[in-house]
Symmetry: C2
Subunit: 177 residues, 2 copies
């Protein structure tokens, strides 16, 4: 009963390895790294009754204040219905406000409130600490390498989403106003 049924395939007892030309080492590291990376804010979010979805919305609204619902959907790659509940909760709890679009009054521009800004920072803080520690461990000069690697991991056609970020150390961006 606990042994494989007669029809079932035989157990393979050798470990899959990088020999197969596949980079299991980094695949696995990426899994572990992301697992622990998200565990930090998850704990804070739980106190608010929020989940990871709230974090993502909060993050991008703070990064790109004034983005519309449609733009947010495009960045998150989720559906309108999935966003609806999460966004409503963030608005109801006064973390995000909607402002009627100036050009097109059908649009709702999304902005963080002071409360929403504060929460976004609180969530990012432990993640940033973890990154800083990891950068130090791996030699502080290697930041550019890691940034380039992560960017290269994103689908080329979606890399535009990254460049829309607000002004930062890197030069390229549009004049946000």
């Amino acid at each position: 009963m606990t042994d494989p049924s007669p029809a079932a395939g035989k157990p393979i007892r050798t470990a899959i390895a990088d020999e197969d030309g596949i980079d299991f080492a980094i695949i696995e590291l990426f899994f572990f790294a992301y697992r622990d990376f998200t565990s930090d804010p998850d704990q804070i979010l739980a106190e608010y009754g929020f989940g990871r979805a709230h974090h993502r919305v909060l993050h991008f609204v703070n990064r790109r204040p004034g983005l519309t619902v449609a733009e947010l959907l495009d960045v998150l790659k989720i559906t309108k219905q999935s966003l609806a509940r999460v966004l409503k909760q963030l608005i109801d709890t006064d973390h995000i406000v909607q402002v009627q679009g100036p050009r097109d009054r059908r649009q709702r521009e999304l902005y963080p409130t002071a409360k929403g800004r504060a929460l976004a920072l609180a969530l990012a803080r432990p993640q940033s600490r973890r990154i800083r520690a990891a950068l130090e461990d791996s030699g502080a000069t290697e930041r550019a390498t890691i940034e380039r690697f992560l960017e290269a991991m994103v689908n080329p056609e979606l890399r535009a989403q990254i460049d829309i970020v607000p002004a930062q150390t890197s030069g390229k961006n549009h004049g946000d106003h």
Copy 2:
């Protein structure tokens, strides 16, 4: 109605930025990278009616053939009940077999079948391709830097999980207890 209610906080119109001492650049890159990294296998999994959870189980059973249910739970950081359904499906579809533990017959050692090995490879292939391309983009010599960075992103007390990776071919360093 679409405007902020009187009681609500005022919209903040400036973007949050790295000035706040927080590394939003890498936080965001990590999100995008992981989003697209998981999208590759997700498409294959959908054909089987499987989800991301199946992938993770399949991955680790292939990486560490013979691991027990308890060990798997510890690596994945999920509960027994969450694993149950996923593992059952993988066993029912003949991707994984259970073998009674040799020393302790209560234990079920988990092994991939040929079918399970093939699927694990198929799922890892596009991910590995993406990693290879990203490594090339960021300069092939930088692999060690990125590996160290990702490892440093994992909680120190959980880093042991990474070292349990299989012996490449044989001769494993099984630091038993």
